[in-house]
Symmetry: C2
Subunit: 186 residues, 2 copies
């Protein structure tokens, strides 16, 4: 877990990922553009007039994961950038104030004890690689930007993971969610 990595996801006329569809799952959606550019590092935030929209976030330390869970995660998780992973999803979400008002133990109880968020994700490793970005403290319109990469053969498994998460108690606290699906040539 290195220092926070600043990442901007920029939609516009160029980028490494083709935007296949944009779905407004809850609340307002986002404009459709042909390409998504993923910019990392200190200059990721530089203005670019060609962008239709930009979502900014940073990687960070673990917020809920325990030591035992982390050992399982790190032993099995896949890295981003695998050549066969030509499908991706960017899922920005925002949670209601009632979520953020909860103390740490109550959020953990909802997220894992009752919604099994971490355990669910583990079942889809290493097929689905994942990186979480935090946006709330950057003053962004979403709280989290989660980025997923998988091979076309694992697309059905990914749909199942997303559908199961959306049925959890944790997701009752989500009041805005957009699901952006992407692809690239191998």
């Amino acid at each position: 877990m290195p220092a926070p990595l600043f990442v901007t996801f920029a939609a516009g006329l160029e980028g490494g990922w083709r935007i296949d569809r944009v779905t407004a799952v809850a609340g307002a959606g986002l404009l459709v553009a042909p390409w998504l550019d993923v910019r990392e590092g200190p200059h990721a935030d530089d203005p670019n007039d060609a962008d239709l929209w930009r979502l900014r976030g940073t990687t960070s330390n673990l917020r809920y994961t325990t030591s035992a869970e982390n050992i399982r995660l790190t032993s099995i998780e896949a890295r981003l950038g695998r050549p066969a992973a030509t499908r991706a999803a960017l899922i920005p979400i925002r949670k209601v104030a009632a979520w953020w008002d909860l103390p740490q133990d109550e959020r953990r109880a909802i997220l894992e004890d009752r919604s099994h968020h971490i355990a669910l994700g583990l079942r889809y490793l290493p097929a689905v690689a994942r990186r979480l970005h935090h946006s709330r403290e950057l003053g962004e319109e979403f709280d989290f930007l989660t980025w997923f990469e998988y091979a076309p053969a694992d697309a059905a498994a990914f749909e199942e993971l997303v559908a199961r998460l959306r049925q959890t108690e944790e997701w009752r606290y989500v009041d805005r969610e957009v699901d952006i699906r992407l692809s690239r040539d191998r």
Copy 2:
């Protein structure tokens, strides 16, 4: 716990708080200036050539506090801006990568089970009002900026609190700390 509040602490030739002293507790210090200006809200980050230095952070959700601890805290804690609280401290700290690499349960065990950070702070309430700002995800040179306000009569109690925290296991993970003491007229 409202939405994150963006705060800039700017040292320079004007501000609401007189800088009485700046002590480098661990690692590099900060330049001494006559005044500290505390800027809050969306424009807190606007550039100002008159600033000698600026430290930026945001308030956020609770990261370690449990429900039981939070009930005690909120029943006793004092607000900022009390007229009698004419002394303040701004204590920026940075923790080593080994801290941030720990999963949530291990950080909680060090911070509270073994260092009693929350319980210690509770003993000095409501004399010492406190607001924590997170800076790590903003790409700042410190991870946290903690702001304290207290009356002159409570200065000895505040020194005791700070000294006890610095002796904890948690503080072994602090590799940079600056202690800035301030005052204002009533």
